[in-house]
C-alpha cells in the first residue's frame, strides 16, 4: 500500500508536467485537441494524489513504523483520531495535504469550468500544473513521506503532544483550503496575462474562488487562534508570531481582493489592480508556506529543519512570484483600463478599503521579515511583537473600521456621503451612547476601551442599517418591507454578515483586552480565590492515566452566588512518556459569551500549586465573529449572480428551472 502511494505520487508528478505543457501549447497554437488534454489530466492527477494521501493515512492509521514519517510522528497507543490526523501533523504529510488540496481545486476547475472559454481554461489548468509540478518535485526530492526504514522499529516516537488535539483535524485542512484556494485566483490572473485579455466575465469567475478561499482561510485562522488559546495555556488568542502573520497576510490581501473584484465585476474598472492583487495574495500564501515549512522559524509549526528544504521552497517562491510579476510588467499595459468614477462613490470606498488593507499587509510583512533580514545581513537578533503592531497595524485599522459602514450605502459611480450619513445616524447615535456608557459607567474603562466598544457597536449596527435601508425601512409599509427584505440579493446579506462578524470580533478583542482580569497565586487544597465576582475553591490534585499519557488533574469548584457549587473546572499537567514532554491542559468554563480560564502551574514544595486564572469577558465573540464572517462568505457564494455560467436570469421562474451549475 505504501509503495502504491509512492508510485501514485510519482505518476501525479509526471501528469502535472503534461498538465503544465500540453494545454499551454494547445492554447498558443489554437489546437482544440491539445487544449482538451488539460481537463482529464488534471482530474487524474487529483485522483492519484488522493490515492497517495490515502496510502499515507492508512500507514498512519495502521501504525506502520517501517515508514520513517510514521515512526517519527506516531505511536501505537495513540487514540485513532490522532493517528489519522497525525498524517498531516508533520512536515512531509502536511506538504502532501498541500498538493492534495491544490490538485483538488484544479480538478474543480476542470470539471465545473466547461463554460469557460477553451483557451482560458487551458491556460488556467497549465498554470495550476506548474504550481503542482514544483511542489510534487519538492516533496519527492526533499520531503518524501514514503521513505521506508529497514529494519522497521517496533514502536513509534509519538506525535508532538501539543498536536494531539482535535484542532489538528480542523485547523490545517481549513487553512490550506484557504491558502491554496488562492492559487486558482493566481492561475486565472496569470492565464489572463498570457492571453493579454481580461474582461468583466473574468471577475465573475474569479470572485467565487476568492470567496471560497477567503471563507476557509478565515475559518482556519480563527480555529488556529482558538486552538492556541486553549492548548498553550497562556490565555492569549493572538501573539503576532511570524507563523500567525504568515497566514494573516494572505487574509488581509485576500480581503482586499474580495472587495476590488466586486468593483471589477460591477463596474469593469480596477482590472489591472485586481489582477495584481490576485497575484500578490497567492504570493503571500507561498511566502507563508516558505516561512512555516522551510525551518527559518522555530515554532511548533516548523516540524523539522533541513536547509535543503528551505532553499528549494525559496526557489519555488522566487520562480512564481518573480515570474508572475515579470509577466505582469510585460503584459499589463496591453490590458485596457476601465471607466472613471468619482472619489466619493462605492468604487471610491472600495479603493480606500484596498489602500488601507494593502498598507496594513505591508506593515505586517515588514514586521515579519525585517528581523530575518536583519539577522541575515548583520547577525543582530531582534524580535518584533505586539508593541510594534499596536503602533503600525492599529492606526491603519481604526479609520478603516470607521468607514466600513459607509461603503455599502454609497451609490456606484457618484455617491452622496451626506445621504449615507443621514441613514447612519441611528448607528452613530448608538455607537456614541455605547462609548459614553462604557467610559462613564464601567469601572476601569480607558478611553481606548470606550472607543473600541463604540467602534464595534458602530460596525454591528451599521451592518444592520445597510439591510434595513435596502429593504426600505421607514419608506414602505411593513409587509412590503418584509417582501423586499426576503428578495434582497444574497450578496447583500453576505456583506452585512461579514461586516457584522467583524464588529463582533472587535467587540470580543476589546472586551478581553480592556476588561479582562487575571490572577497568579499559589493555592493549597481547600483554599478559595475570587476573580471578577467568581469564586473558585481548589479541591486538590488527583492522578489519572490516559491512553498514552499520565496526568495530575487539579479540580476547582466554581461557587455560585448563593454559595452552592456551580460546576467543576479541571486543569491538568500531562506527561507524555514517549517524548518525555509535559503539557498543560487548561480548564475553561464558558459563562454566557465570556470565559473563566484556568491554568495549572508547578507544584511547590509545601504542597501548594501555582495557579493562573483569567476572567475573559466576551472572549468567545473573537471566534464567533469569525464564524459569522464565514457565514457571510457562504451567503455571498449562494448569490445566483456568482454561479459561474448561470447568465443573470431576471425572472424567478426561469431561475427555478435553471440547473445550479
Amino acid at each position: 500500500m505504501v509503495e502504491t502511494g509512492h508510485f501514485a505520487l510519482v505518476l501525479a508528478f509526471a501528469l502535472s508536467l503534461v498538465q503544465m505543457l500540453v494545454p499551454l501549447v494547445g492554447a498558443r497554437t489554437g489546437n482544440q485537441r491539445l487544449m482538451a488534454v488539460g481537463g482529464p489530466v488534471t482530474v487524474t492527477g487529483f485522483a492519484l494524489t488522493a490515492l497517495s494521501f490515502a496510502a499515507l493515512a492508512s500507514a498512519y492509521a495502521g501504525s506502520d513504523f517501517s515508514v520513517a514519517s510514521v515512526w517519527e510522528n506516531s505511536h501505537s497507543l495513540q487514540p485513532m483520531i490522532y493517528k489519522i490526523t497525525g498524517t498531516w501533523g508533520n512536515h512531509e504529510g502536511s506538504m502532501l495535504l498541500w498538493v492534495l488540496i491544490l490538485t483538488f481545486f484544479g480538478a474543480l476547475v476542470a470539471v465545473f469550468g466547461n463554460n469557460l472559454p477553451a483557451t482560458l481554461k487551458a491556460n488556467v489548468l497549465a498554470v495550476q500544473g506548474m504550481i503542482g509540478a514544483a511542489f510534487f518535485l519538492f516533496i519527492l526530492a526533499t520531503s518524501n513521506p514514503f521513505i521506508r526504514l529497514n529494519p522497521a522499529p517496533i514502536e513509534g516516537r509519538d506525535l508532538n503532544p501539543i498536536l494531539q488535539d482535535l484542532g489538528l483535524a480542523i485547523h490545517p485542512p481549513m487553512l490550506y483550503l484557504g491558502y491554496v484556494g488562492f492559487s486558482i485566483c493566481f492561475s486565472f490572473s496569470v492565464a489572463a496575462l498570457i492571453e493579454g485579455r481580461i474582461d468583466a466575465s473574468w471577475a465573475r469567475w474569479v470572485r467565487p474562488w476568492t470567496l471560497v478561499a477567503w471563507m476557509f482561510l478565515t475559518g482556519g485562522i480563527a480555529m488556529g487562534s482558538y486552538w492556541a488559546y486553549y492548548e498553550l495555556g497562556w490565555g492569549g488568542f493572538w501573539f503576532w508570531d511570524p507563523v500567525e502573520n504568515a497566514s494573516f497576510m494572505p487574509w488581509l490581501a485576500g480581503t482586499a481582493l474580495l472587495h476590488s473584484a466586486i468593483v471589477m465585476e460591477k463596474r469593469s474598472t480596477l482590472k489591472i489592480w485586481t489582477l495584481l492583487l490576485a497575484i500578490l495574495t497567492f504570493s503571500l500564501s507561498l511566502l507563508g508556506t516558505f516561512l512555516v515549512r522551510s525551518g527559518v522559524l522555530t515554532s511548533v509549526h516548523a516540524f523539522a529543519t533541513d536547509p535543503a528544504r528551505g532553499v528549494f521552497i525559496l526557489c519555488i517562491l522566487t520562480l512564481f512570484i518573480g515570474g508572475s510579476l515579470a509577466l505582469f510588467a510585460l503584459r499589463a499595459s496591453r490590458l485596457t483600463a476601465g471607466g472613471l468614477f468619482h472619489p466619493i462613490s462605492r468604487e471610491g470606498a472600495l479603493v480606500l478599503n484596498n489602500l488601507f488593507l494593502t498598507t496594513a499587509t505591508a506593515t505586517v510583512l515588514v514586521g515579519t521579515l525585517y528581523p530575518m533580514a536583519l539577522e541575515a545581513l548583520t547577525g543582530g537578533k531582534i524580535s518584533v511583537g505586539a508593541p510594534f503592531f499596536d503602533l503600525t497595524f492599529g492606526p491603519l485599522m481604526l479609520p478603516l473600521l470607521a468607514i466600513v459602514p459607509f461603503g455599502p450605502l454609497l451609490a456606484w459611480k457618484r455617491g452622496d456621503v451626506i445621504a449615507a450619513s443621514q441613514r447612519l445616524m441611528a448607528a452613530f447615535a448608538l455607537a456614541i451612547t455605547a462609548m459614553l456608557v462604557t467610559g462613564l459607567f464601567i469601572d476601569g474603562a480607558s478611553v481606548f476601551a470606550a472607543l473600541g466598544v463604540g467602534l464595534a457597536v458602530w460596525l454591528v449596527v451599521g451592518a444592520l442599517t445597510d439591510l434595513a435601508v435596502k429593504s426600505g425601512f421607514g419608506a414602505v409599509p411593513p409587509a412590503a418591507m418584509l417582501r423586499r427584505f426576503a428578495g434582497l440579493p444574497r450578496s447583500v446579506f453576505g456583506t452585512a454578515l461579514a461586516h457584522l462578524g467583524l464588529g463582533l470580533t472587535l467587540l470580543g478583542i476589546v472586551g478581553t483586552l480592556c476588561f479582562g482580569t487575571e490572577k497568579i497565586l499559589s493555592m493549597h487544597p481547600g483554599e478559595t480565590v475570587e476573580l471578577s465576582g467568581h469564586t473558585l475553591r481548589f479541591e486538590g490534585l488527583s492522578p489519572r492515566k490516559g491512553p498514552n499519557f499520565t496526568e495530575d488533574r487539579g479540580r476547582f469548584l466554581l461557587m455560585g452566588a448563593d454559595g452552592n457549587a456551580d460546576g467543576m473546572i479541571t486543569s491538568a499537567k500531562r506527561f507524555y512518556p514517549v517524548r518525555q514532554t509535559v503539557t498543560t491542559e487548561s480548564g475553561i468554563r464558558t459563562l454566557g459569551l465570556s470565559q473563566l480560564y484556568l491554568s495549572l502551574g508547578d507544584e511547590n514544595n509545601d504542597g501548594s500549586v501555582v495557579v493562573r486564572l483569567w476572567w475573559k469577558p466576551l472572549v468567545t465573540l473573537i471566534w464567533g465573529g469569525g464564524l459569522v464572517m464565514m457565514a457571510g462568505a457562504a451567503m455571498s457564494l449562494l448569490d445566483r449572480r456568482l454561479r459561474v455560467g448561470a447568465p443573470a436570469k431576471r425572472r424567478k421562474a426561469a431561475a427555478a428551472l435553471a440547473s445550479p451549475t
Partner: protein, 146 residues
Amino acid sequence: MTRRQKRMSVILAGLAFLGAAAGLTFYALGQKASYFYMPADLATASVPPGQRIRLGGLVEKGTIMRGQGATVAFSVTDKQKSVKVTYTGILPDLFREEQGVITEGAFGPDGVFVADSVLAKHDERYMPKEVADGLKAKGVWQESTN
C-alpha cells in the same frame, strides 16, 4: 479644479498616506523591536534599566528558587557569564535546568532582570534557535545539550 488637478490631488493624498505609514513603521521598528542578548553580550552592550530586551541562554543548574507565591528566581547562563532573573507566573512546561530559554523583560535598578515572559522550546527536540546559535557562536555548544 480641472480633472488633471483632481487626479494629482488624489495621487498626492495617497502618497502622503503611504509615506505616513512607512514613517510610522520605521519609527516603530526603531522603538518597539526588542533585541536579543546572551549574558556575555551584556558586558559590552549597555542596556539601560527599563529597556525591553530578550535575554536567552541556559537555565543554570541549581539556581531555580521558588519564592513567595508564584515568583521564581533563576539564573540564565551562556557558560561565560550569568544573569539573575525573576519571573512571576507559570513557567513553560519544558522549563528545566540546563535547558535553553528566552526571557523577555527589562533590568530593574538593582541589576536583576525582571521577565514578564519565559519561553522554552516547543518540544524536546529543539532548543530556541537564537540560544542554539548564540551557544555555537561562543563555542560552548554541545550536541548533548540539544
